[in-house]
């Protein structure tokens, strides 16, 4: 768009288009703009079909302040020139961008992001992520405690489970062991669902601590321990029950199995002692030991055998416990990871969606623009080709017409030259007449020459034309034929 077409270029193009003479066309174009300007001054408005409307708008006098000096100045009333392009030319000029349409934007699209993306299409994600980082951080942080909660709860649950298994094993019933495990698993799963309650995580811990301390104690009757663990666990459970927290599920889940295990699977002989112990058990451990020693000798023997049996089983359970711990831990970790990723997806899902939408939009816009560019390029090429062909045809026609005109002109010229007398060795040829004039009194040939040709040099031609031999003697009122001259070249 660098080169500005001037009037002469415009005239040339128009002349070839309309197959008219160059001079005539130029005059016409000049006249056209003169007429437009004149009528604009007269009517204040000129409409040209295909081009647009020129208008003069009156601007009233107004006051203004000079920004640099703060001086108040009055802008006098004046008229302002306005031009509104015709829809035809407007559309024609806007053709390269005609495919674009105004698109309404959603409120939640951040325009700064779009601009940034527009500037750097490669880094689409970075500003967006940076902008959303605080939100995502929250989202990430939220599941983190859950994970740790689950982890700790899971670990403790496993321990608790192992303890229960132990007690159950001492009872000597594999079914209850399964039951215990089942409750422990249900406990951990319920904990996971509730996304970590500190109360819940604490309760097994307390139970664990007490259980561990009990296990560490080397008492002669292991069953006493077992009996004792139940009441020890119970109060904590009941205290938790009294609290309005979600942990109520834990004691509920553990209660039946814990109470059921000794009740069902301890030997019948022990049952009375257990029942005796139970009401008082909550006080302290020494009591139990004392009570346990009070039991009959027979029972003691039985108990000893039970203890032996229990030791073997205990060793076995420790092994199995380790084994179970070995595979449960990774499983739980995987569960936690799954949950975490699920939570992240749900939490950040809609944001991701928006992001993809935005990028979709951008990609679409790019495609559209590239398509439009291609289309424009194609149409432009076509139009250029057509234009060239047309121009060539026009040029050929013009050349032909010109040649013919030249030939005709030359012929006519020759005839004219032959017809009129010519000045020998003169610069000009007489090729016709431009009119006549009468020699009145006081007129001279010099005068006439100056009047018609702007110079006195053409007296000679006038004389030749009219057969005057002596330029000083011209008859009165003689009608002079004024020659049309042409330069010899």
């Amino acid at each position: 768009m660098g080169n500005r077409a001037s009037l002469s270029e415009l005239t040339e193009a128009l002349a070839s288009r309309c197959a008219a003479g160059k001079k005539q066309t130029e005059q016409f174009v000049h006249l056209f703009f003169d007429v437009v300007a004149d009528n604009l001054l007269k009517d204040k408005i000129v409409k040209v079909r295909g081009l647009g409307t020129f208008k003069l708008v009156n601007v009233d006098e107004r006051e203004s302040v000079n920004i640099s000096t703060g001086e108040r100045i009055v802008i006098p009333a004046h008229s302002k020139f306005t031009f509104t392009p015709d829809p035809v030319i407007r559309d024609e000029i806007n053709k390269p961008f005609a495919d674009f349409e105004a698109t309404p934007l959603n409120d939640d699209i951040n325009l700064d992001e779009i601009n940034a993306i527009g500037d750097e299409p490669d880094n689409i994600d970075t500003p967006e992520q940076g902008a959303e980082m605080p939100d995502e951080m929250k989202g990430i942080e939220a599941p983190a405690p859950v994970l740790s909660g689950i982890h700790s709860v899971g670990g403790r649950a496993v321990e608790a489970e192992a303890e229960e298994q132990k007690t159950v094993a001492i009872g000597g019933a594999p079914e209850t062991g399964d039951e215990g495990r089942g409750t422990a698993v249900s406990l951990s799963s319920s904990d996971i669902e509730e996304a970590s309650d500190t109360d819940v995580s604490e309760t097994p811990e307390e139970a664990d601590d007490e259980d561990n301390s009990d296990v560490e104690e080397e008492t002669e009757g292991r069953t006493a321990d077992i009996v004792e663990t139940e009441p020890a666990a119970k109060p904590s459970a009941s205290s938790d029950l009294s609290q309005p927290s979600d942990s109520s599920e834990f004691p509920k889940a553990t209660d039946p199995s814990d109470t059921a295990a000794p009740a069902e699977h301890l030997e019948p002989g022990e049952l009375p002692t257990d029942s005796e112990v139970k009401p008082t058990a909550t006080a302290d451990r020494t009591n139990h030991v004392g009570e346990a020693t009070e039991v009959d000798d027979a029972v003691l023997v039985k108990r000893a055998s039970v203890v032996e049996h229990a030791d073997i089983v205990h060793n076995a359970t420790i092994m199995s416990e380790r084994k179970s711990r070995w595979w449960v831990m990774p499983l739980l970790l995987m569960c936690a990871l799954l949950l975490f990723s699920l939570g992240y997806y749900l939490g950040g899902g809609d944001r991701l969606h928006i992001k993809s939408l935005a990028s979709d939009l951008i990609v679409k816009a790019k495609q559209k623009s590239s398509k439009a560019d291609k289309k424009a390029a194609i149409t432009k090429e076509d139009s250029i080709k057509a234009e060239e062909a047309k121009q060539r045809a026009d040029r050929e026609a013009a050349e032909k017409a010109e040649r013919e005109a030249k030939e005709r002109e030359a012929r006519e010229l020759e005839e004219a030259i032959a017809r009129y007398p010519q000045v020998k060795d003169g610069k000009f040829l007489i090729i016709g007449s431009i009119g006549t004039d009468t020699m009145r009194v006081g007129r001279t040939l010099l005068n006439i020459s100056r009047k018609y040709y702007g110079t006195t040099d053409y007296v000679e031609y006038i004389c030749i034309m009219n057969g005057i031999n002596n330029p000083d003697i011209v008859p009165k009122n003689a009608v002079l034929n004024l020659p049309k001259l042409r330069h010899k070249e």
Binding site: L14, F28, V29, F32, A37, L40, V48, F81, I93
Partner: protein
């Protein structure tokens, strides 16, 4: 002054027939359009200059508060020449 009046005035002042004047004016306008589309500018010394300008895309707000992305476009602008300005008495700002 509308197109008809312009043509009749042109015809009167140029001595051409009305039909010829019309074809000439149409040709002139078509030629100007072509030149503007290809080169982007036409300057007529005594009158002014026509120029194609690119308007960048922008975001505007409708009266209802809806934000709209207005696409880029090419517009034809006209700037009167100093001679013309003097003639119409427009102040040079």
């Amino acid at each position: 002054m509308n197109n008809k009046q312009l043509i009749s005035e042109m015809s009167r002042r140029s001595g051409l027939s009305v039909a010829d004047t019309q074809t000439m004016i149409n040709g002139l306008v078509a030629e100007m359009t072509e030149v503007l589309v290809s080169d982007g500018a036409v300057t007529i010394k005594q009158f002014g200059s026509f120029e194609v300008k690119k308007k960048m895309e922008r975001v505007c707000q409708t009266p209802s508060g809806q934000k709209v992305l207005v696409p880029p476009r090419l517009v034809l602008s006209f700037k009167p020449s100093p001679v013309m300005r003097e003639r119409i008495g427009e102040e040079e700002l």
